[in-house]
């Protein structure tokens, strides 16, 4: 039913437009070359000097998996938190709006590292205290609260979600507010409910607006995920520290860690740019 994106763009782009935006029709995005260069450098190091670079590389691979896993898992929850937070920020209900605003303002004022420390080290103490209070009232719940162990992976995902969710809320809010009021009025005048109008009219348009900042957030999240190494998650950064501690090869270790982060961030930045171009449409 719907024409493919490629044919749709072809039919939209007139001659004048091609002249204005050569990047759109150029095909190859030159920044892929930078990524290629970094990949080649990494590969050359591993091939020409397997000792120590291949050893480091192999040791870090587990960490790469954890870093990607944490980033992707967190990102899913961040999108949900950002959508709820963003809708809350534009809500006319003072209670919902107030709660969303306080969340955003408070969380944005606390460093991510401190939030992670709090969740991993401080929140068990809070839960234990709560459990001791409740022991007479709800013994089973209290027992659970006292004995609960914070899973490092969950703490990491939770911390990143709470923190990045606040920034994402602001991005979503700005995206929704950028869609003209006439759009929701047209939708509502056709009898659509608030949520139908959001789902079918406002959000599909807002997505195109917020895609660039959301892509930036993903890349920033990938880098900030290195902070979870402080809460006992064996991500790439933590694996790097472990390797260095046992071999004292500081330069080689951190060079490899940096190169691997670069490969990932450059790659995702290109993917985001690619999706962005695909989703463009003429207003």
């Amino acid at each position: 039913m719907e024409p493919s994106l490629a044919s749709r763009k072809k039919s939209i782009a007139g001659p004048s437009q091609e002249a204005q935006t050569p990047a759109l029709t150029d095909g190859v995005d030159r920044w892929w070359l930078l990524l290629l260069a970094v990949v080649v450098v990494t590969w050359l190091l591993v091939r020409t000097r397997p000792d120590p670079y291949l050893r480091i590389f192999t040791f870090l691979l587990d960490g790469v998996r954890v870093t990607l896993g944490i980033t992707v898992a967190s990102f899913v929850f961040i999108m949900i938190a950002g959508l709820l937070g963003g809708l809350g920020r534009i809500s006319k209900n003072p209670l919902v709006n107030g709660a969303a605003s306080i969340y955003v303002e408070l969380i944005r004022g606390i460093p991510l590292l401190v939030q992670l420390m709090f969740i991993y080290y401080a929140s068990p103490i809070v839960l234990r205290g709560l459990g001791q209070r409740l022991i007479g009232v709800l013994p089973s719940v209290a027992q659970w609260l006292i004995s609960v162990k914070i899973n490092p992976f969950a703490a990491a995902v939770g911390g990143l979600t709470i923190c990045y969710g606040a920034y994402m809320s602001e991005i979503v809010r700005a995206g929704i507010e950028s869609i003209s009021k006439g759009q929701s009025e047209a939708a509502r005048s056709l009898g659509m409910s608030y949520f139908q109008a959001m789902r079918h009219v406002i959000l599909p348009q807002a997505v195109r607006v917020i895609l660039p900042p959301v892509g930036n957030e993903f890349v920033a999240l990938l880098k900030d995920s290195s902070l979870v190494s402080v809460v006992a998650v064996a991500d790439m950064t933590r694996r790097g520290r472990e390797f260095m501690a046992s071999t004292f090869l500081a330069l080689e270790t951190w060079l490899m860690v940096a190169l691997l982060y670069l490969v990932m961030t450059l790659f995702f930045a290109r993917v985001v740019a690619y999706i962005e171009r695909k989703m463009q449409f003429v207003r």
Binding site: E185, L190, S193
Partner: protein, 245 residues
């Protein structure tokens, strides 16, 4: 009045300190084409938008097709019965003309896709652009966009159509194509409330004309009575002398 489909009783509306509607009353009968004219800022759009509750009234009462516009439940019901056409079209830019027309049919009326598409094609034919079904709004001229917007509203099979200056954002050569569609609708017996200063349309289609000024309806007349000589109010005459020339 038993046959009135829109009853507006003593409606007032203000935006902060600005009074947009001051104790306005008006009745529209089934099948009538009511035209509202008046100077900029006199409250024409606000009155129209109150009819499908895009604006809430501060006081007074509006009943549409027997449904009082009070509870939220009623509002969605009324909106599905009342089509609205905007000055700036407000088509959904991420959807094709066809999808613009089928969206509300599917999500509000819960019509099956096939049926919705059939009706959409039929309506695109009716507004004279059957070949534009798969075009996006940005690929259409202003006049074509407005005709898609009319088809989109008609797809809900409304009992009433509201038009807020539907041609004032259009180039002169596109105005007639939109007015022709509106004239056809009027001839078919659609109840219409139209804010427009297109005197050709007003003369050809209007059953009654209301003149608004400073948040009031100051005069009611018919196309035959719409001349400088017959209008009683000085303000109406002043305004008419501008738009009739």
């Amino acid at each position: 009045m038993s046959d009135s489909i829109i009853q507006i009783e003593n409606v007032s509306k203000r935006f902060g300190h600005v009074v947009a509607l001051d104790n306005v009353s008006m009745n529209v009968r089934k099948g009538e084409v009511v035209v509202i004219i008046g100077p900029s800022g006199s409250g024409k759009s606000t009155l129209l938008r109150c009819i499908n509750h895009l604006e809430s009234v501060d006081s007074g009462r509006i009943v549409v097709d027997g449904i009082p516009l009070t509870e939220a439940k009623n509002i969605d019901k009324v909106r599905a019965e009342v089509g609205m056409v905007f000055q700036l079209f407000n088509l959904f830019p991420h959807l094709t003309a066809l999808q613009n027309i089928t969206l509300a049919q599917r999500v509000v009326r819960k019509r099956p896709e096939k049926q919705a598409v059939e009706l959409a094609h039929e309506l695109l034919g009716k507004v004279g652009i059957p070949e534009k079904a798969n075009a996006y709004p940005a690929q259409l001229s202003g006049g074509q966009q407005q005709r898609v917007a009319i088809a989109r509203a008609l797809a809900m099979q409304p009992k009433i159509m509201l038009f807020d200056e539907p041609t004032s954002a259009l180039d002169p050569e596109m105005i007639t194509e939109v007015l022709d569609v509106m004239l056809d609708l009027a001839r078919e017996g659609m109840t219409m409330v139209v804010v427009s200063h297109e005197m050709g349309f007003v003369r050809a289609a209007a059953t009654r004309i209301f003149f608004m000024c400073d948040a009031h309806i100051v005069e009611e007349t018919t196309p035959d009575g719409l001349s400088l000589a017959t209008c009683k109010e000085e303000r109406t005459r002043q305004f008419l002398s501008k738009i009739l020339s």
